[in-house]
Symmetry: C2
Amino acid sequence: MTRVTADVSFLRGYNQALVMAVGRTARTFERATVVEATGLTPQAVSKVIARLSADGLIRPAGVRRPGIGKPAVVYELVPDSRFAIGAHVARRTLRLVLVDLAGTVHHSAVSPLPRDFTPEHLLDALSAGLDTMAGTGDLRGRLTGLGIGMIGPLDHANGLVRDAHGLRHWHDVPLREIAEKHLGLPVHLDKDVTAGITAEAWRHGATFGDAALIMVESGIGGGFWLGGAAHRGAHTNAGEFGHTVVDLTGPRCVCGRHGCLEIVHQHAAEAGDIAHAARVLAVGVVNLLQTLDLAHVVLAGADLLGHPQTYLAAVTEAVQADARRAHWLTTKVVLSSLGADVIAAGAAMQVLDQHYGIPELGHSVIVGG
Amino acid sequence: MTRVTADVSFLRGYNQALVMAVGRTARTFERATVVEATGLTPQAVSKVIARLSADGLIRPAGVRRPGIGKPAVVYELVPDSRFAIGAHVARRTLRLVLVDLAGTVHHSAVSPLPRDFTPEHLLDALSAGLDTMAGTGDLRGRLTGLGIGMIGPLDHANGLVRDAHGLRHWHDVPLREIAEKHLGLPVHLDKDVTAGITAEAWRHGATFGDAALIMVESGIGGGFWLGGAAHRGAHTNAGEFGHTVVDLTGPRCVCGRHGCLEIVHQHAAEAGDIAHAARVLAVGVVNLLQTLDLAHVVLAGADLLGHPQTYLAAVTEAVQADARRAHWLTTKVVLSSLGADVIAAGAAMQVLDQHYGIPELGHSVIVGG
DNA sequence: AAACTTTAGCAACAGCGTTGCGTAATAGGG
DNA sequence: CCCTATTACGCAACGCTGTTGCTAAAGTTT
């Protein structure tokens, strides 16, 4: 267990991050906007704004005349002041995206990976992709790092791929370390679904409540945003949502149990009954709501996005049927606005978040073993 | 949404809480212990210790002679320097406990509540119980408040009971407000299961990882401790774990869905097959582990504690069978050490936690509607 | 008695947000 | 044209935090 001590530099980072969050959410903002959103005094906001301006992260963008009195200075985030590259490592493909400080995806590219690719294969593909991305513009000094969203299981805290599902050459690979050495960039490693939900949270800003990203793509996974941060669990293994039992008498799943959401859904989909498959998924989603009480559910993944309206309708209907019992149970169900880029973009945003997001405090890590 | 700003007073409270957590976990401690546990400088710890000593929260408890050099001063928490009273409001009973700063339960008392009791009934029972508790010793100035753990749904942030299950007279009752007025004490209101998991976390200290309290008592509920804090969800409605579907073709539940964990479990229990009921519950627990990746599972509730070893064995077996796939997936399953007091004690500890626990920051509240 | 080791704490310091108050910039009224 | 009200901004002093540098205290060992 590690525990971060709180000193004055934490205050600096924390309040700075609050202002950045305002800038990311609102297109433009002024001092009074931040004061209201954060509860800081105007004077404190002035100091923070001065620091951020000096770093080139925000800039004045005109004035607003309040009718009477001195005009207010309007600021805006400088989106292209910082960039990060995100990678989505799937079983057969590598997707790379370039994301700016505002969370906008600038470039997106997919390249195939060899069947049963090795760490070396991946590093070469990353290296080549990074060169292409960096070649599209002069990013020197503005590139904060590379985020990798990958299938698990893995160990986020130590940057270790434990035993990636369906990949033979990935047992206890210290991917973060070797990638940093090979690429000369800070690297952040996380589960694909966790990266994905970070993308949604980063773009929505501080008002984003507890949420889940439901991903259907060669399996069913869930990424969680709880209490203002990504939830990874005790061993970075949260999100194996597809392997929750929804049918005690159902068919045997690859995981050894019977009637997992994933196998029941798969049978329905393979039978061609997508509507039924979507309703099965919806049962699982309502199970999540009962357990975690979420404000947002975001749907993503290639298999799901192949029939977006079918899934959206089924899940929305099930959620509303359940919420009908209580008027205050409001949960928004949406399709991911980033589409197929959501994992890679989220991985990039995790890197940006490490620098310009709310710093973590009292972070306890239990390393299993 | 409200967002708390970070200022120097936050630092004070935060680091103070770190020291208090050390004192609560370890029976005795010295300056060097805190330095290692928190990462603070020795000098900073000295200042914090001086403040806490002045408040009477900790005191010197001898010296340790390191063999060579100046002896180190050994400190200890002063358990009876602060107290809180906790209430567990169930459908037919009210349980009250007196808890000290160390988390020790001093007195526990159960009194019956009339069928379909009203808010007035409860206030009278609370009032009478508090007088008895306070009469057992002079608590003036040392009683920090009353915590209430109650069946939901309720609104934790606003201290409102929305519509307590099975109680007719409890629709939108501002219980926190009227109880504070009636009793002249600060009152904290939360769901029973959330209070329960707080008890476990408070007693285990900072090393307590992600955890769940599984409660089987006229229904099945779950309380969650995630990322170092209680997880309540977007509308204080997290934990309706009993109403997750585990059998798509199962019997219809009171909630309207089919094959909820609660109804399937209930059928098995009513048939007298407790071992089978326990295995059904275990399926639900493993579902939780798959979703949330927990480090601890705590079992509680009157119905479960009537057959403690049966349930403990079934859940432990299921968890280990699942973890067998990966050596690093370690989850501890235990029975609640506080037994029947866990909810009431946890409610009391929530009050203590508000004063002497880690202050929350960046806490966003979404009020549904 | 002198040297060494370990622990404790005083004093000065840098950096944070806050407070008090003066200044800049605009519109409207006399 | 000038004055006033209004709105926004920022300098300067302040209180408080944890940090740093250094000294003092209280033991054991030689």
